[in-house]
């Protein structure tokens, strides 16, 4: 196991170097560096100003020198400054990952809480109205674009809220985008306020997770309940609930656990569309905004961070297989 780990860790080195070169080159090759774009916003900038600024920002140096400088600084934990936000990239990423998790974890939990029971019921009652409703719902969830659904949710729950006339449902009104109310006192009030904002985007985001998890649960459950050992269990006289719980469910959930585990790094990478529609300052929106605004340091930093996450989680997944499944040995 130790030698396997060492080998995997060593393999990561060229991988990370390769990724960093690609990230750097792609962003540097894009036309229009920050100074060129500045020029367009202001007709008074002269040719001398451009030369002076490019020199000040180090943009006049050859690509390989700029790459080495970037890597050297990155190794010391300095990913540079954001051109848009004027703050260190690292602290920006840190903040935004936190914000994204605020949205992703509730969405993920809602999705699981709904998908697993719905998937199971739908498999056990195949071709029943419940199954049709669930199938309709999953197709709806998979095919509806998040930005459209987001706008619709805002429209219904924030703009028209058609149940205004019913006082009992007055609480069913949510903010039309945003992340928190300015000026809310610290402590519990912050969390209550944040929870209010998270409802709509989390529902929208959970729909996509929910749809695919339902599909997985249903199909793997369908497969399992036709197995011989289920028939054997029934023949032994175990109650139907016992058959489902102890024999079917445990086996049916294995593929789902894999899918869920693999989607954990995605939780950190944010959801650009949902975050943009709801004005949620998460990491997905940060990356999109940075690319569009030519904020290279941020774009490079975020991509590097996400690439690192994928590498680390892959390694963790491989290790956990060995831990969970005694048939797998790394020697």
């Amino acid at each position: 196991m130790t030698s396997y780990l060492t080998r995997r860790l060593l393999q990561m080195v060229p991988l990370v170097i390769g990724i960093s070169i690609i990230i750097f080159l792609i962003l540097a090759a894009a036309p229009g560096d920050p100074v060129d774009l500045l020029l367009f916003g202001n007709p008074n900038i002269t040719a001398e100003d451009v030369v002076r600024l490019k020199h000040l920002y180090g943009l006049d140096q050859p690509l390989h020198i700029r790459y080495v400088k970037w890597v050297w600084a990155a190794l010391q934990g300095d990913l540079g400054y954001s051109r848009t936000y004027k703050v260190p990239v690292l602290s920006l990423i840190w903040d935004r990952v936190g914000n994204s998790l605020w949205l992703q974890i509730p969405a993920f939990l809602i999705a699981l809480a709904v998908a697993v029971p719905v998937g199971i019921t739908s498999a056990l009652r195949q071709y029943s109205p419940v199954d049709y409703a669930a199938t309709f719902f999953t197709f709806f969830g998979l095919s509806i674009p998040a930005f459209w659904f987001g706008i619709m949710m805002i429209y219904v729950f924030a703009v028209v809220h058609p149940w205004t006339a019913l006082p009992a449902l007055a609480w069913l009104k949510f903010p039309a985008g945003g992340f928190s109310s300015p000026g809310v006192a610290a402590g519990l009030a912050t969390y209550v306020d944040r929870a209010h904002y998270v409802v709509l985007p989390a529902l929208v985001l959970s729909l996509l997770f929910m749809a695919s998890y339902t599909r997985y649960t249903r199909s793997s459950m369908l497969e399992v309940i036709r197995q011989d050992y289920i028939r054997t269990a029934r023949a032994k006289g175990i109650s139907e609930l016992g058959v489902i719980q102890r024999h079917a469910l445990r086996n049916a959930l294995i593929p789902l656990v894999t899918i869920v585990a693999l989607s954990i790094p995605a939780l950190f990478s944010g959801a650009p569309l949902t975050e943009t529609v709801f004005g949620w300052p998460g990491i997905g929106r940060l990356l999109v905004d940075a690319v569009l605004a030519g904020d290279f340091a941020v774009a490079q930093g975020v991509i590097l961070f996400l690439a690192g996450l994928v590498i680390v989680f892959n390694l963790l997944a491989d290790i956990s297989y060995a831990v969970l499944d005694p048939r797998i040995r790394y020697d």
């Binding site: 706008i151 992340f179 300015p182 004005g279």
Partner: protein, 572 residues
């Protein structure tokens, strides 16, 4: 089939649930939060609020700075305030200097000396007095070689600044400059007592070191209290703010202004409709969505939200690269303008709310030439001009000259729906006179960052943002043509005319506004005859605000609607 029954039941349920959504939204003329607060929605977030840094010069930053610093005109934090009727009033100073009064002296060698008297008793947000040193400091910072200031076009004209006493600033200008009574130095003001140490520690990092969060000490009517990056910003009325009679005569009635940053324009509009937004500034509602919103409000009979769109200073046009084999002939350029029906275009697309433009200056500009050559829609004339230039019909219906087909590429920012609609209309009209136009759009980054500055285009559509005092030096003179390894200069068509060169170089140094206007009118007359660019229309920017919010006065210029936020108030 049982399953069909169930499916139709499901569908019916969905429809029943959806039905109430068609109902109307309620009225929302009351403040979103409370009678002492205004909630504004912005589509972008300012990066920083440092008045000297160019990085902080984006329009949204100006909107916030107009409240934190005093005051906003073309540059931030100059002592003079520009109003919505484009007047310049003395805000931080006792009067605007003038040649007549003798506080603006012009020497025989063309150099100038302007004396500003600061108003007494103005303070920074931390209570320290605003002094002449703060204006001098701002200029020194902007001129420091290690400070990444991009635009020094005004401050470079200043020879030196000194302060005979703490409330007098004397500015020596190297040569004549007409803006010397609007700009103290072109650098605005900086609180020296707060920023000096930070700046001296590392001038290159000063933009990151100050003005990116709380506290950002200003001298304006509002104080920055909270800034949640990516989400919101809260400003509170400055309790020490003293009114300026005749300029900003009232104490701030709105105690708190909250900015919320939402990048999706549909979400912003939803917030306007739901009443969560008290106001939306010039940047947030794209024109076409604004038109739709206006119709919707009208059809629903809603009077609680006021939408305004005044055509202003944003000039949409098509540059023609005069170094192109076809476009170098003036007759071809003129024919291209005659061939298109711009009046119909603005009627069809914008209901006429964005008027056709005929000159490189907007018609509200003091130097606008109303007698400039206008090109009415006249395809016959266009064909005649092209025939005169030697073009004959080719086998495929496209005109040709000595075997060269009159085929041009037409570039603009990809994904901009309005511009793409304009392109399609124009393409069809040009085709009707035998000109083939191929649309080749590019992402904004490549277009503005590479294609335009290197002049790799034939027809290029984009906009310039003018100011009430724009002249023509950087966009029309032949020594401002970029390309050939040189960047800088915005004469993208490559227009060269000796007389226009002379006029455009001379206007900034002409101190008499009447004479300046005359020179600009002459330049427009020559330019309109040569047409290096097709003037299309003047853009109008929508703002929205609740009917109860008083004194919301958009300037339809580069000065944001927040210029008079200290005078806003809710109808009681």
């Amino acid at each position: 089939m049982g399953s069909w029954r169930w499916m139709s039941l499901l569908l019916a349920t969905v429809l029943v649930i959806a039905m109430p959504f068609a109902s109307r939204a309620g009225s929302s003329s009351s403040p979103a939060v409370g009678p002492d607060t205004v909630v504004l929605f912005l589509q972008q977030e300012p990066s920083c609020l440092n008045p000297v840094a160019d990085a902080c010069q984006m329009f949204v930053a100006a909107a916030v700075k107009a409240m934190i610093f005093c005051c906003n005109n073309a540059n931030d934090a100059e002592p003079v305030l520009m109003t919505s009727d484009w007047k310049f009033l003395p805000a931080m100073v006792e009067k605007v200097p003038s040649i007549k009064d003798g506080d603006w002296k012009v020497n025989a060698d063309g150099s100038m000396q302007v004396t500003w008297k600061l108003r007494k008793g103005r303070t920074w947000h931390d209570g320290k007095p605003v002094t002449a040193e703060d204006y001098i400091w701002a200029w020194r910072v902007q001129m420091h070689p290690d400070f990444p200031a991009a635009d020094r076009s005004i401050s470079e004209r200043v020879e030196n600044i000194f302060a005979p006493d703490s409330s007098t600033v004397v500015v020596k200008w190297k040569k004549k400059y007409e803006g010397a009574n609007r700009y103290l130095s072109g650098a605005g003001i900086l609180p020296k007592h707060v920023t000096e140490k930070l700046f001296r520690a590392n001038p290159a990092k000063f933009v990151e070191a100050w003005g990116t969060g709380v506290p950002t000490i200003g001298n304006g009517p509002y104080i920055l209290k909270e800034w949640q990056k990516g989400s919101s910003m809260t400003l509170e009325a400055n309790p020490a703010w003293a009114v300026i009679p005749g300029v900003l005569p009232d104490k701030p009635a709105v105690r708190r202004v909250v900015y919320r940053f939402i990048s999706d324009t549909n979400t912003i509009i939803a917030n306007v409709l739901s009443g969560s937004a008290d106001g939306v500034d010039e940047t947030a509602i794209p024109f076409v969505q604004g038109l739709e919103l206006e119709q919707r409000l009208k059809s629903e009979g809603r009077t609680d939200i006021v939408l305004k769109a005044e055509p202003g200073l944003v000039w949409e046009h098509i540059d023609m690269n005069v170094d192109n084999a076809h476009l170098k002939d003036k007759r071809v350029r003129q024919a291209l303008v005659y061939a298109i029906n711009r009046e119909e275009l603005v009627q069809q697309l914008f209901q006429g709310k964005q008027p056709v433009s005929h000159s490189f200056l907007p018609d509200k500009h003091y130097g606008y030439n109303k007698d400039v050559k206008k090109y009415p829609y006249d395809p016959t004339r266009a064909r005649a001009l092209l025939a005169e230039a030697g073009y004959t019909a080719g086998p495929d219906g496209v005109l040709q000259n000595k075997g060269q087909r009159l085929s041009l590429t037409f570039t603009t920012t990809a994904g901009n729906r309005t511009r793409e609609a304009v392109q399609q209309i124009l393409q069809a009209q040009w085709k009707a006179v035998g000109v083939e136009v191929k649309i080749q759009n590019q992402p904004a980054r490549a277009y503005f960052g590479d294609t335009l500055p290197t002049r790799k285009f034939e027809l290029a559509m984009y906009a310039w943002v003018k100011s009430p005092n724009s002249t023509c030096e950087s966009e029309l003179t032949s020594d401002h043509i970029p390309g050939g390894g040189q960047t800088g200069g915005q004469n993208y068509p490559g227009y060269r005319n000796a007389e226009v060169d002379r006029l455009c170089h001379a206007t900034p140094e002409e101190l008499d506004e009447g004479k300046r206007a005359q020179m600009l009118r002459e330049a427009q007359a020559i330019w309109a005859e040569d047409v290096p660019s097709i003037p299309l229309y003047l853009r109008a920017d929508y703002t929205a605000h609740k009917a109860g919010l008083q004194k919301w006065l958009p300037t339809s210029s580069q000065v944001p609607v927040t210029w008079n936020a200290a005078q806003w108030g809710w109808l009681k």
